[in-house]
């Protein structure tokens, strides 16, 4: 008989024992679960906005929000209140229903991803057998919401921005999904709990750093953060697909973006940094929540660092990086990784099932995979370097033809 202590997972059987109707009890526990799962990101995002602003401020040698509440902690709440009272303008000629629908869908699709985030070994919204595909599928609705927002505004800039955004989202989905194949190959499952459990001996970031990097970069692009923030390139498209939005609807787009970034950080932690794995998690499963939170924080801060320090790419560069570098790299990576896994099997380096969570037993196969990844990464970086040199030389040759001294040559003559 299940105990009633761990109420989140056992609410429904407890209610049934107390004489409730089984269906009703089930529905109630589902509702409670949904509210709990959705509240985690909602509450966190309020704090995250403050962290992000403070972080950006420190990088830019400012203080950042420091007036509302201690250390400016309540700034986000004040902003939310302000946005509530702002006039909300719907441009003439806009498609009213779709115009209002877009921010709702934007936010809802990000919240929905949290259904499959494994918080602890016991607590997960829904441990679907296709967990990782659920993430990809819900994420792919993202392109639809951008289209709705851009199209319904009746604004040329919004439409242009929406189309660029969709082209970018859709393009970067390819290396992202290909990178996700690597953890699936190693864990032999698409369920999020299975993927986490498979990292008991060694995190996937060590076993396949390239997959982790591809997944991370592709998701940076999907979230539209710098250096891929040309979706809201102020100087070119004014603001992108959400240009006509104001008031709380605009706030929803912003909050959705913050939450998307956070969600990506969580998923990176779950898929590549071992999720809830950590010391003593076997004895106290609830500790997993803290380990996951710490790992997520590391990834999140790293994303903030990139956002605040890397300049924006041009749209053609973004497309070239994707189709001519990341996609070929991820294809070769899958071929390599599957080959190495077969090889490890053939050589008998795979740890026995009872030793799957043992660090030492996992070391041989990890070393093989890591070496393969590093060699592949080195080869691709070399190719990239050579390509860069050709481009530079072509530029310099062009400058000479035009009659200007090439920068390097000019320096030498002087």
């Amino acid at each position: 008989m299940t105990s009633c202590v761990d109420f989140i997972n056992t609410l429904s059987p407890c209610l049934v024992r107390a004489g409730w109707n089984a269906d009703l009890a089930n529905l109630l526990s589902l509702l409670l679960g949904v509210v709990i799962v959705a509240t985690v990101p909602l509450l966190t995002v309020i704090l995250l906005i403050w962290i992000e602003r403070k972080f950006a401020a420190r990088i830019q040698d400012r203080i950042g929000p420091n007036r509302v509440g201690p250390y400016g902690l309540l700034q986000s709440l004040a902003d939310a209140l302000k946005m509530l009272t702002k006039e909300d303008i719907t441009p003439s000629g806009a498609d009213r229903i779709l115009f209002n629908l877009a921010p709702i869908i934007t936010f809802a699709t990000v919240v929905l991803i949290w259904a499959i985030v494994p918080f602890t070994p016991l607590h997960i919204g829904a441990d679907l057998s296709i967990g990782i595909l659920y993430f990809v599928a819900v994420g792919s609705i993202g392109a639809v919401k951008v289209m709705i927002g851009g199209w319904s505004s009746n604004n040329k800039y919004a439409l242009l921005g929406a189309f660029r955004t969709i082209a970018l989202i859709v393009s970067y989905e390819v290396p992202m999904i290909l990178a996700l194949l690597v953890p699936v190959l190693m864990a032999g499952s698409m369920g999020m709990q299975d993927l986490t459990r498979a990292q008991g001996g060694m995190w996937f970031i060590v076993m396949s750093p390239l997959a982790a990097i591809i997944f991370f970069v592709a998701n940076l692009a999907e979230t539209g953060r710098s250096p891929f923030d040309l979706l809201e390139a102020e100087s070119e498209l004014i603001a992108g697909y959400n240009i006509e939005y104001s008031g709380f609807k605009f706030g929803m787009f912003m909050a959705g973006e913050f939450m998307h970034v956070f969600t990506v950080a969580v998923l990176t932690a779950v898929l590549f940094l071992g999720g809830w794995w950590g010391p003593f998690v076997d004895q106290v499963p609830a500790l997993g929540f803290i380990w996951l939170g710490l790992k997520t924080a590391v990834v999140y801060l790293f994303m903030l660092l990139i956002r605040n320090t890397v300049p924006r790419f041009r749209i053609d560069q973004v497309m070239n990086i994707n189709w001519k570098f990341m996609v070929p790299l991820s294809i070769v990576l899958i071929l390599l990784q599957s080959f190495l896994l077969r090889l490890i099997d053939a050589l008998g380096l795979r740890p026995a099932p009872e030793l799957a969570n043992d660090l030492l037993a996992n070391l041989p196969q990890t070393l093989v995979l890591l070496a393969g990844n590093l060699v592949l990464g080195a080869i691709f970086m070399h190719l990239l370097q050579r390509h860069g040199r050709t481009l530079r030389e072509a530029d310099e040759a062009l400058a000479v033809v035009k009659g200007e001294a090439a920068p390097a040559g000019g320096m030498a003559e002087a």
Binding site: L84, G125, A126, K156, L181
Partner: protein, 120 residues
């Protein structure tokens, strides 16, 4: 492991996820000032009055990206079952997967050589 109850959770989530963003928007609608006028409601295009139809014709390049993505999407869908079952399979399965990916790499190379991936 997986039951329909897990999916019931997803179903309930889909049913009420839109409430979270809708509530503040409705709340804002209740309290915010509503004084629209024709000038305010003008389309914002850098302060210049909008010219012609919003419905400008787009370049075919977008469509090509969409097509290339669709093809890769279907390819990757085929690869997921292969990856899940990979542990239990043998070298033959590796060969089959290799051939599958290799053939599609050809498609990528073709698109590359034909400059279909170029943003022009």
């Amino acid at each position: 492991m997986e039951t329909l109850n897990e999916w019931a959770f997803v179903g309930v989530f889909f049913a009420i996820a839109w409430v979270f963003p809708a509530l503040p928007i409705i709340g804002a609608w209740l309290v915010r000032p509503k004084k629209p006028n024709a000038l305010k409601k003008q389309t914002y295009e850098s302060g210049v009055e909008t010219v012609g139809d919003t419905w400008v014709q787009f370049r075919v390049q977008y469509y090509i990206y969409g097509l290339v993505f669709l093809i890769f999407d279907v390819e990757m869908i085929f690869l997921f079952p292969w990856a899940v079952a990979y542990e239990r399979l043998d070298w033959f399965a590796y060969g089959a997967g290799f051939l599958f990916i290799f053939l599609l790499t050809d498609a990528l190379i073709y698109a590359w050589r034909k400059r279909a991936l170029e943003w022009v």
